[in-house]
């Protein structure tokens, strides 16, 4: 049986790699059809035709797209993301600190939101349709329905400007003490938690409620187990697959979808970095970041798949 699981996992990972390759083609094509050209965007509206011609030549923009794609892919596979067109710096060295910042913020948002969502989901099931369930669902849905920039501005106005508890600017940098960093990211983390909480909480609640309809839960009840024991021992393990799925989707969002929060709180993450480079048509950087985002997304989904397979015997033995 062990080998069949290994095969399944290997299959999933291979599928992920193929998907990533397909995404790399899409990213490349996508960046080619952006309006305007790199040289014009680097030099802005103050560009002279001579400067433009020089820059185009230097950037190799006159080569055909296929040649540029394989040159790029070859570089990526050997760990060379290339050089930023705008700053002439190695992309990997400027991108890594940003990636770490993004992961740092996502990590803390996840550390707070995932257990909180699951606990709230369990509580909601335990006291379903009662005032506690209604209050939890109402709060979570309200916070998700508000756009994140609005929640961000509200927090800035009340917590940063009026009460002055936490800074409104979340700039972090190398060598900043960990406690200062944590203090700096309190507000953006709070916004992110509020944004992702409801989705995970509601899914936990729905998945467990679904399982609770099963006959074996009734049996457990008849055995005289307490409500929490039933949820913890019998319902939760069987509801894990959908919960993990939605948790992974939200984790992926925390990494790839937080540009608005980064802008509002001036957090030096990958999102703002990507937007700046898109605006300047710095194609190698856009491609690199796009690929990283795709890799994060795909690998989190693979983890969700594998967890689901491991948690569910039926998936382990496909017919």
């Amino acid at each position: 049986m062990g080998s069949s699981i290994a095969t399944l996992i290997a299959q999933r990972i291979a599928l992920g790699v193929v998907l990533l390759l397909a995404v790399s083609v899409l990213i490349f094509v996508g960046t080619q059809i952006l309006p305007g050209d790199v040289a014009q965007s680097i030099l802005g509206n103050q560009a002279t035709p001579e400067a433009l011609a020089n820059l185009r030549k230097e950037l190799g923009l006159n080569d055909p797209a296929v040649v540029r794609y394989f040159a790029w892919l070859g570089g990526v596979l050997t760990g060379d993301l290339g050089t930023a067109l705008t700053t002439r710096q190695d992309i990997a060295t400027t991108l890594m600190p940003r990636l770490w910042n993004t992961l740092f913020l996502a990590f803390w948002a996840a550390v707070v939101s995932v257990p909180l969502a699951i606990i709230l989901g369990l509580l909601a099931v335990r006291y379903r349709n009662g005032p506690i369930d209604k209050a939890i669902s109402g709060f979570a849905l309200a916070s998700t329905s508000l756009p994140e920039f609005f929640v961000g501005y509200l927090l800035i106005f009340f917590v940063a400007v009026k009460l002055q508890w936490f800074p409104s600017i979340s700039t972090v940098y190398d060598g900043m003490p960990l406690l200062d960093k944590l203090r700096a990211i309190v507000l953006p983390t709070t916004v992110l938690v509020l944004v992702v909480l409801a989705h995970m909480m509601r899914m936990t609640r729905a998945a467990i409620l679904n399982v609770m309809q099963s006959a074996y839960i009734e049996t457990a009840e008849l055995k005289g187990l307490s409500a929490f024991d039933i949820i913890r021992k019998h319902a939760f393990p069987n509801a894990i697959a959908p919960i993990v799925n939605v948790v992974m989707l939200n984790l992926a969002f925390l990494v790839v979808g937080v540009v608005v929060v980064e802008v509002i709180f001036v957090y030096p993450g990958l999102g703002q970095y990507l937007v700046d480079h898109v605006a300047k048509r710095d194609v190698p950087v856009v491609q690199a970041v796009g690929l990283i985002f795709a890799a994060v997304y795909i690998s989190l989904n693979i983890i969700a798949d594998i967890t689901a397979i491991l948690a569910n015997p039926r998936l382990r033995h496909p017919k």
């Binding site: 509206n45 940003r98 940063a160 409104s168 600017i169 700039t171 802008v263 898109v278």
Partner: protein, 529 residues
């Protein structure tokens, strides 16, 4: 002013009395708060600059793609940071004149073709080397090189040859130009060791601050350069920091929360709200920047001067200043020059909003059907609203304007200087010659109104070589009238630069050349105790 007030304000300046107590006592003496604050400012200035602390600015206009190479400067953050770490040959003064910096003396031959810059002794680069004439020459050479892609390339094109003669840098021009020293004040021309040829983005020059932190699009920092040659004039704070805050609301909040002392680009929409925040002062100054509606004079239907006149008369300028700029600006007169420029003639008749005349010219032009105007959020703040206001003021003259909103991304490469009628902005230039040469002579790359008039070109060339200021002023008046009455430019308004500072900042001096005191706010202001 009562002696008691004077005494009290002095006590605040030396730190013996709190600001709040002062205001309280001043009120007791029957003085309004704003006057009391002015008094206090004067007293602090009299007490002189104070050293120490970290001045922090929250600024719009920084991207992850910025570099320390001055040739690449384009947006506000590199510009302002550059003024903090860089040193220039000459600099613009708030009254429109020039101040010598690395150049100790500037001299010209009688025909304004050969210019000599004497290099000041005893100025040191951050790397410990002395600034020499060779460094200056190498800097100018690097920016003149086509491969440098320097933003100053356009202004270096007029140079025929350059050489070092002892302590002098001698620049020979292809054609006479009485404004050459002004061109040398261009913000790209930071003097670097060996002209930055070895490492353009090393961030080393001879300015008041040394670069310590450079995280493009995030923050930039500097510490005071101990051997700065003019330490009594600039570089009062121990450290400076620029935090890139591109979001306007976040920028204002950072100032209210006390995380930054200075911010740029306060939106006219919220100026009155920011004004009411305790401890925050709005610093606005009328400059040379202007918002424009530009028509291509060589493209139908705008190749008809009657249609152009109709569209000019249909512009309600007062309404634009009042609603788009909230009063923080002044009306334009369809030529790109205002009183902020030297040699400005203020007697050119102001063009009014006149729907009748607009209708008359529109009929005479024979054009029929709507006119397509392209706009975008990025054209200037409030550009889309301005297009709608214009649509309405045109409607009163019987002219139908179709407004097409273009995406901001790609606006400068696909719409501006390509489409025949769109909105845009200009930041202005230090001299009239530069403004006209950049955008109104036939050969200009950015002639965004396609104004192709040989007699206009000739007039500008003549004015450039004219050293007699009275004659020159008259020539520029003729040029202005020509653009105003025949050009493709509708210039409804000149916008103010609107910055804000907290009450911890002193030493602010309005400067019309650019925002944040022409970028010198961090270097020239100081923190009060």
């Amino acid at each position: 002013m009562s002696e008691e007030l004077k005494y009290l304000s002095h006590r605040v300046a030396v730190g013996k009395l709190s600001r709040r107590d002062f205001l309280g006592r001043a009120a007791a003496l029957g003085v309004t708060a704003s006057f009391a604050n002015t008094l206090l400012g004067g007293a602090a200035k009299a007490a002189g600059p104070q050293k120490g602390g970290i001045i922090k600015a929250g600024m719009q206009g920084g991207e992850a793609t910025n570099s320390l190479d001055p040739a690449s400067f384009l947006s506000q953050v590199p510009f302002t940071f550059g003024k903090s770490w860089g040193e220039y040959l000459v600099a613009l003064t708030p009254d429109g004149g020039l101040e010598n910096r690395i150049a100790e003396e500037v001299g010209a031959s009688d025909d304004a073709k050969v210019w000599t810059f004497k290099i000041r002794d005893g100025i040191e680069f951050h790397n410990g080397k002395s600034v020499t004439a060779d460094d200056v020459l190498a800097t100018l050479e690097r920016h003149s090189n086509e491969d440098s892609k320097s933003g100053a390339l356009g202004i270096m094109k007029g140079i025929e040859s350059m050489k070092v003669d002892g302590n002098d840098v001698v620049v020979t021009l292809k054609e006479a130009n009485a404004d050459l020293p002004y061109l040398m004040a261009d913000y790209h021309l930071i003097i670097q060791p060996n002209g930055g040829k070895d490492k353009p983005d090393a961030g080393i020059s001879a300015g008041p601050y040394k670069v310590t932190v450079n995280e493009p699009g995030v923050r930039h920092g500097g510490e005071r350069f101990a051997n700065y040659w003019q330490g009594d004039k600039m570089g009062f704070a121990d450290q400076i920091e620029i935090i890139v805050i591109n979001d306007a609301t976040a920028r204002t909040a950072a100032m209210q929360g006390g995380q930054v002392h200075l911010i740029n680009r306060v939106e006219p929409k919220i100026v009155d709200l920011v004004k009411r925040v305790p401890g925050v002062t709005i610093q606005n100054v009328s400059g040379r920047g202007h918002y424009v509606f530009i028509m291509h004079c060589n493209t139908a239907p705008f190749d008809n001067n009657d249609l152009r006149m109709a569209l000019k008369y249909a512009m309600n300028r007062e309404e634009m200043v009042e609603k788009i700029l909230r009063g923080y600006g002044s009306v334009g007169n369809d030529f790109p020059i205002n009183a902020a420029y030297p040699l400005f003639s203020d007697d050119v008749e102001q063009r009014p909003y006149d729907p009748d005349k607009a209708a008359f010219h529109f009929k005479k032009s024979g054009h029929d059907g709507p006119v397509l105007l392209r706009t975008s959020d990025v054209a200037f703040p409030g550009a889309v609203d301005a297009a709608q206001l214009y649509q309405q003021s045109c409607a009163k003259a019987g002219i139908t304007i179709d407004v097409k909103r273009e995406p901001g991304d790609g606006y400068w490469s696909e719409v501006w200087n390509k489409q025949p009628f769109c909105e845009s902005y200009w930041g202005g230039r230090p001299t009239q010659d530069q403004m006209y040469s950049t955008a109104y002579i036939s050969t200009a790359d950015w002639n965004d109104t396609r104004f192709l008039r040989p007699e206009f070109d000739k007039l500008i060339m003549e004015a450039r070589a004219q050293l007699d200021e009275t004659k020159r002023k008259a020539m520029y008046r003729d040029a202005a009238v020509m653009v105003r009455d025949e050009g493709g430019l509708i210039l409804p308004m000149f916008n103010d630069f609107i910055d804000a500072s907290t009450d911890k900042i002193d030493g602010w001096e309005p400067h019309p050349a650019a925002e944040l005191m022409d970028g010198y706010a961090l270097a020239k202001c100081w923190l009060t105790a």
